[in-house]
Amino acid sequence: MIEIKNLSKIYATAGQQVLALDDVSLAVKKGEVFGIIGLSGAGKSTLIRCINMLEKPTQGSITVDGREITSLGMGELRFARQKIGMIFQQFNLLSSRTVFDNVMFPLEIAQVPRAEANKRVQELLELVGLTDKAGMHPGQLSGGQKQRVGIARALANGPKLLLSDEATSALDPQTTRSILKLLKDINRQLNLTILLITHDMNVIKEVCDRVAVISNSRIVEIGDVLDVFSNPQTSTSRSFVNAVINHEVPAELLHSSTERNGETTTRLIRVSFIGASAGQPLISSMVRRYNVDVNIIYGNIDRIKDTPFGNLTLEIIGHPQLLQEAFDYLRGQGLEIEVLTNA
């Protein structure tokens, strides 16, 4: 759906040059929800704004739905933009218009006949659950309702692609969740491709299929959300994942768990699991089979889309030989084992 090749963007301001995007390449598939995460100033907004040419790329090409956006003339570009919806952190609704007329706005731009447009607006308001607010002005709505209007507006001309620039960053967690759910619903119902940027890993976790991590103007990691969560490859990704899932083990635990006591050894391990194995009683069968004692130090189970995923930090006490076999057993069951202490 989107094909970005070797995209670079340099902002030239008052004698200074800022390299906001450095040779970025990226492909977003049709129908997927693709997230881009990065710290403030990493270049996220620049990247998403290049896709509908709100920013003109310095170098590289962008193709959306088979059309090279970067080489279109002004008229063609305007037409292409009608088919690329966008929602914003600050909603950007017109205060001079009612909710109804705000959703009507893109249809006016596209010169859709009035009767047809009216019908379309009604449908959209129904879709986002704001039929009863049609006559209100944006100033009378809550943040979440405003963003629903923004979404309805972005969908008005039946786009194939929706761009979301921090659409939930101005909302509280609960409202964020309801907006994300709406996005997920329209992604499924309309087979709409969504590209969203955020600095919140929770957003990625809730709705995205794939994620790209952007750091210092470059994409440093790209992959399925589940993979990036369970096995982040870069320090940037790790810190984002850790913000959502606590992987770190407190230092005092590492020390207290190293003592040896006669025949038995104590080891601290972290078990990471994804998918079906999370539902099986593997730990208890390990305890029975290898005659080890288990002390659960810390645990976290989460869901990414419909896949359970998480990690357990365990203190395992047992005969060294049996401990080794126990670990192998868990590995054999598809779990990932990381030994945090070695006695």
């Binding site: 709100l54 292409a80 933009r81 950007n92 017109l94 001079s96 002005h137 009378q140 507006r153």
Partner: protein, 225 residues
């Protein structure tokens, strides 16, 4: 006040006629100055750096002309424009003739007022429209102007009030209206009564225009809240 007038009922007639002349001059020149000043203000805004029709050269040229025009005192304008007025209206004297210098003096003022109003609009709104595929005239007519409407209306009121003042000045050099009345009777014939009545009528006019502007702007702003 009626007592003050006594049997001078001619004063009432004169004042009524002069008031109407002033309203007429101000109304027509306000309309005409917006006819030219509004597009000029829109161009000043949209050709500015990073705006939808960025054009450094045009922006600078228009900006300089507007600044130059605004630095000429109105009384000088009156004299400078006599040939033009004579050409357009046929005579430099009278109510209709005054409309020419009033309008021309107000155009650069209006352009700056409009520019200020439109600049207040959040850039995100313009970008949202552009991201939907709006062309420049759609951005102006569907975003900039409607969003700035309360502020634009206040600008119209301020312009009209300024023009009431200017029209009085024009009146002194034969432009008609309340200015001429005050000058002939108040200054040249020492009819203090006429002078004071003129002042009172002017105050009422200005108050009225301001209240009308505030009211309309307030109503619109309230509805949007």
């Amino acid at each position: 006040m009626l007592e003050l007038l006594g049997n001078n009922s001619w004063v009432v007639d004169k004042v009524l006629v002069a008031t109407w002349e002033t309203i007429y001059m101000v109304l027509i020149s306000t309309v005409l100055s917006y006819l030219f000043g509004l597009p000029l203000g829109i161009i000043l805004v949209t050709t500015a750096k990073n705006h939808i029709m960025e054009n450094k050269g045009l922006n600078r040229v228009l900006g300089s002309i507007v600044n130059a025009a605004r630095s000429i005192p109105f009384i000088i304008f009156l004299i400078l424009l006599i040939p033009l007025t004579r050409f357009v209206v046929g005579t430099p004297i009278g109510t209709v003739a005054s409309i020419v210098p009033l309008t021309i003096a107000a155009i650069p003022f209006v352009a700056r007022m409009v520019e200020t109003s439109l600049k207040e609009i959040e850039w995100g709104l313009v970008e949202a429209a552009v991201s939907m595929g709006a062309n420049n005239s759609q951005v102006v007519s569907k975003v900039l102007l409607p969003e700035a409407m309360p502020s634009l209306l206040l600008g119209i009121a301020i312009t009209a009030i300024n023009l009431v003042g200017y029209s009085a000045m024009a009146g002194i050099v034969g432009g008609g209206g309340l200015g001429t009345l005050a000058y002939y009777y108040g200054y040249q014939r020492y009819e203090d009564t006429v002078m004071w009545i003129t002042v009172i009528v002017l105050i009422i006019l200005v108050q009225g225009v301001q209240m009308l502007g505030d009211n309309l702007a307030g109503k619109i702003a309230n509805k949007r809240r």
